[in-house]
């Protein structure tokens, strides 16, 4: 079954077409890579899926439900969540508070029981705390739980963002350059971690990444995008041998310099 389907999705900003007629389908349990040179429109696709941008043309389906005209928080409540390329943690809160906040959907006590501290409040709060403990331990963040997010090293901030996303019990997880700023060793660890959480939480994962080692090592299938236009789709092996992809990436060096 397709967890996520993009059908002929197009996004224009004024005269600029950021994503041009993109279609792909992701199956349950897949780890699906989204690659392409800078400015290819990868993050724009994430923003379209999570309803931060509205779609110009085309449709996105999640578990056969259409995602248009939904608000970002509604998409999150359906089971789709993400991390950000330019990390967006709750900076002044501790690692623990970051995850605890995101667990909020596992409780449903209302504002009156939080004022009176009765009913479901205590039971559910205890559950949320246990859940937070578990997630922090799983992501190897337990020792850092009382450290304010903005003081964590870069790599741990990225991990914390994943932990925060997992707190929602998502069905589909979108990771936007999770290995950016990590050294090769950390990248390999992250690769194993992504596989582990996929199996443990029965997740489907969509990854944007520039570390080719990670993408090739972890993805079941890869979709290549260049200047908003679909270039190729296939297994890591097929992509590595694809001529069009090689060309796009050889041309990439000059372009990144020009853009930076």
């Amino acid at each position: 079954m397709n967890v996520l389907s993009l059908n002929n999705v197009t996004k224009r900003f004024g005269g600029l077409t950021a994503v041009d007629n993109v279609s792909f389908h992701i199956e349950q349990g897949e780890i699906f890579g989204l690659i392409g040179p800078n400015g290819a429109g990868k993050t724009t696709i994430f923003n379209l899926i999570t309803a931060i941008y509205s779609i110009t043309e085309g449709e996105i389906y999640f578990n056969d439900k259409k995602l248009q005209r939904k608000k970002p928080y509604e998409i999150a409540n359906m089971g789709v969540t993400r991390t950000f390329q330019n990390i967006r943690l709750f900076k002044k809160l501790t690692a623990y508070e970051n995850v605890l906040t995101a667990c909020h959907k596992s409780a449903d006590y209302n504002i009156f029981s939080s004022i009176m501290r009765i009913g479901k409040f205590k039971l559910q709060e205890r559950y949320l705390k246990n859940k937070t403990d578990g997630l922090l331990k799983l992501m190897g963040l337990w020792d850092y739980k009382d450290i304010v997010a903005s003081n964590l090293p870069y790599g741990l901030q990225r991990k914390l963002e994943i932990a925060r996303a997992l707190a929602l019990d998502p069905k589909l997880l979108l990771l936007d350059e999770p290995a950016a700023g990590m050294n090769p060793e950390e990248t390999i660890q992250l690769m194993e971690l992504i596989k582990e959480i996929r199996n443990k939480f029965d997740l489907t994962v969509l990854i944007i990444e520039h570390h080719m080692d990670l993408i090739m090592g972890v993805c079941d299938r890869i979709f290549v995008l260049n200047f908003g236009i679909p270039l190729a789709l296939g297994t890591p092996k097929e992509i590595q041998e694809n001529k069009k992809v090689i060309e796009a990436y050889l041309g990439k060096e000059e372009k990144t310099y020009a853009e930076d």
């Binding site: 928080y73 709750f90 906040t101 939080s114 929602l168």
Partner: protein, 302 residues
């Protein structure tokens, strides 16, 4: 200083504190800025006073009616502005505060610019009542902050986009913070009316709103105990230093800028002042002293 004088200032502190607590939730915890809370105080003051004066409704119920009226108005402002991107909310509160005053100036039922007088003060806004109401208000506020609802508000303050992607209905929680803060301001207005015995539209100028927000900033954004300490300090200081009165707002203005530039956490730095933290720091201090004494003894021994 006579007791009457001190208790008068304490009552005023308590009245200010009600609005400050609400603003603390709105600005300190949710990250929204309002120029119009004096307007909510005015609504509460006028509603509560007419309830007790004209309909003989018991004081506490009148206070609640005043608070709820302010809350209902806040919901309209929130509905119009809180789901828009940009400074719409700020500008709307600015307009609302001024408009409330102008409307009251022109409504003869509420006495126009002369306002209402001979509001019952006997047995209404007493020090005892003010303290009880404030204790309840602090308790309710702290309970909300230490629940998933409060955590969601803080998440919005910290990073709105991320808050949305973890499933927080940003609009709903901003509305909630605004409604609670308006309720508190409304009750505060009712208390003020029944303390002074008279009210006039001019008492609820914009500078009143900003003064109360300044207290929240002094106490520290995101600290309830900071707001409490800040309110008491900033209500007492100008009363004691009368000559300071004219320069008070000049210093406040400069201090606000200085705090934002150097120490945005304010007095309490987002931390709470609690029995636990006192015990903790006392323990630290005792340990420190012990170590020093121990070191000295060792020095003596050697």
């Amino acid at each position: 200083m006579s007791w009457d004088y001190v208790s008068g200032i304490l009552i005023l502190s308590g009245i200010n504190l009600m609005t400050v607590l609400g603003l603390s939730l709105l600005t300190g915890f949710t990250g929204l800025f309002s120029f119009g809370h004096a307007g909510f105080m005015a609504i509460g003051a006028y509603m509560a006073s007419s309830m007790t004066m004209k309909y003989g409704i018991p004081f506490f119920i009148a206070l609640l009616i005043g608070g709820v009226s302010a809350m209902l108005v806040s919901l309209v402002i929130g509905k119009l502005t809180l789901n828009l991107k940009g400074d719409y909310f700020c500008i709307a509160t600015l307009g609302f505060g001024e408009a409330t005053r102008l409307i009251l100036d022109n409504v003869q039922y509420f006495g126009g610019a002369r306002g209402l007088s001979s509001i019952p003060t006997q047995g209404t806004t007493t020090l005892f009542n003010v303290i009880i109401i404030n204790i309840v208000a602090v308790f309710v506020l702290v309970s909300i902050i230490r629940s998933r609802h409060g955590r969601n508000m803080v998440a919005i303050r910290e990073e709105e986009l991320a808050a949305q992607t973890i499933g927080i209905d940003v609009f709903k929680y901003k509305m909630m913070a605004l409604a609670i803060s308006a309720l508190y301001a409304g009750i505060s207005g009712g208390l003020l009316a029944h303390y002074l015995g008279y009210i006039q539209p001019i008492m609820f100028k914009m500078v009143k709103s900003t003064e109360l927000t300044i207290i929240v900033i002094f106490g520290g954004l995101g600290s309830v105990s900071g707001s409490v300490i800040g309110t008491i300090l900033l209500t007492f200081l100008p009363e004691i230093l009368r000559s300071f009165y004219n320069w008070r707002l000049v210093i406040y203005g400069a201090a606000v800028i200085l705090i934002m530039i150097t120490r945005p956490q304010g007095l309490m730095g987002g931390k709470e002042f609690s029995i636990k933290s006192i015990i903790k720091s006392a323990k630290k201090f005792i340990n420190f002293v012990r170590q020093r004494i121990g070191n000295k003894k060792e020095e003596v021994k050697s």
